[in-house]
Subunit: 208 residues, 2 copies
Amino acid sequence: MAVKTTERANTVERKASQRLSASERLLAAADELFYAEGVHVVGVDRIVERAGVTKATLYSTFGSKDELVRAYLENHFRRRQARVAKVLAAHNAPRERILALFGEVEDLLAGSAFRGCRFISAAAEARPGDASEAVANGYRAWLWSLFTDLAHEAGIPNAKQFGRQLFLLYDGAAVAARMDPDRRGAAIAVRSAVTSLLDSAIPSKRRR
Amino acid sequence: MAVKTTERANTVERKASQRLSASERLLAAADELFYAEGVHVVGVDRIVERAGVTKATLYSTFGSKDELVRAYLENHFRRRQARVAKVLAAHNAPRERILALFGEVEDLLAGSAFRGCRFISAAAEARPGDASEAVANGYRAWLWSLFTDLAHEAGIPNAKQFGRQLFLLYDGAAVAARMDPDRRGAAIAVRSAVTSLLDSAIPSKRRR
DNA sequence: AAATAAACAGAACGGTCGGTATAGTAGCAG
DNA sequence: CTGCTACTATACCGACCGTTCTGTTTATTT
């Protein structure tokens, strides 16, 4: 309460001191809580409490909890797209781009913040017709085309199948991050699996 | 104590007319509903309705919904163990045993009943400390040692890492079954990935 | 036939959930 | 000043949740 009053009292320097708008704080709180504990377990009261806003603000901004969940997932979707674009932009050779993408996965596994894929988790809780289902489908469609495009770039015969294999490893890593203790072992295994699959898929020109 | 008395009361023809006991029907109903829609979404009312018993029976048998969830997962755990034992017993060569295990996965992907791994789904909904979390951990520990044992049998150097790679593919297949439309493509990709990894992991003696 | 024990049907409990209504206030544009 | 927007604060709603309780029926045991 004291915090709130302080922020509201600001005049000119308000924009500087008030870091985030109400909707941004709601999204941040939703991301933390939904990701850490699950969409169903976390109620709207805990979200508004963490965001430092009131329920009326939540409902005037997002309309419903389901729409907040959609916004939470779409927000993360955008972040993932931006991150992947950045990683891919740093490399030119198709093989290096694939490895860089999975290097990203290894980094996630190395840190403790990664608790699995938000879309897999959200879809596991969704009932048919929920907004999260649609967003998760969109995300996975994007991911799949990303993997197959990379495989195609790399000149891999049967690029669709190879893209699927990358997808399998990617999902496996996400599940392992969520459920298993040995994240480092998983990271190493992913890298090794990707290089093995690459070497056996690419018609060896000079690689061995 | 209720169970004991019931079993003792059985006469000859009762066992024939009464197909399943109350607890068995409850377990069957829980398996169908929890698996199809999720643990949180399905309430106890729907389970007792589907099982054809009353709530009092549920609570005298299992004590709570959380314990019913635990029983549901442990029951499936036992079924998986029996199924895997059967598959492994049908093959002797280590390489064939691994392929047979993943043939099982392909069969699951071919049918429409498979909607992903129950333990992954349940864990995605669990809050820390739930019974389902413990059962899921036990299941995954069993699965991991299974994969590494098979890799060791096959004489693969770095069997632990190879077991992890199999685990990654297995989880990836489970996620794909749950979330993606092209299950057949996933099945083919899994098989191809497993053979690729096998071929690159086993020091080639006569294989090529 | 009387007694015992399950399982039955169903109401009711306390709690939490998502969502709403009302009233008030700070900041800003005209 | 006036209106407008955005937000706060608080109280409340109906629905549903898991759980328990009260009776009633049914079948077996003695």
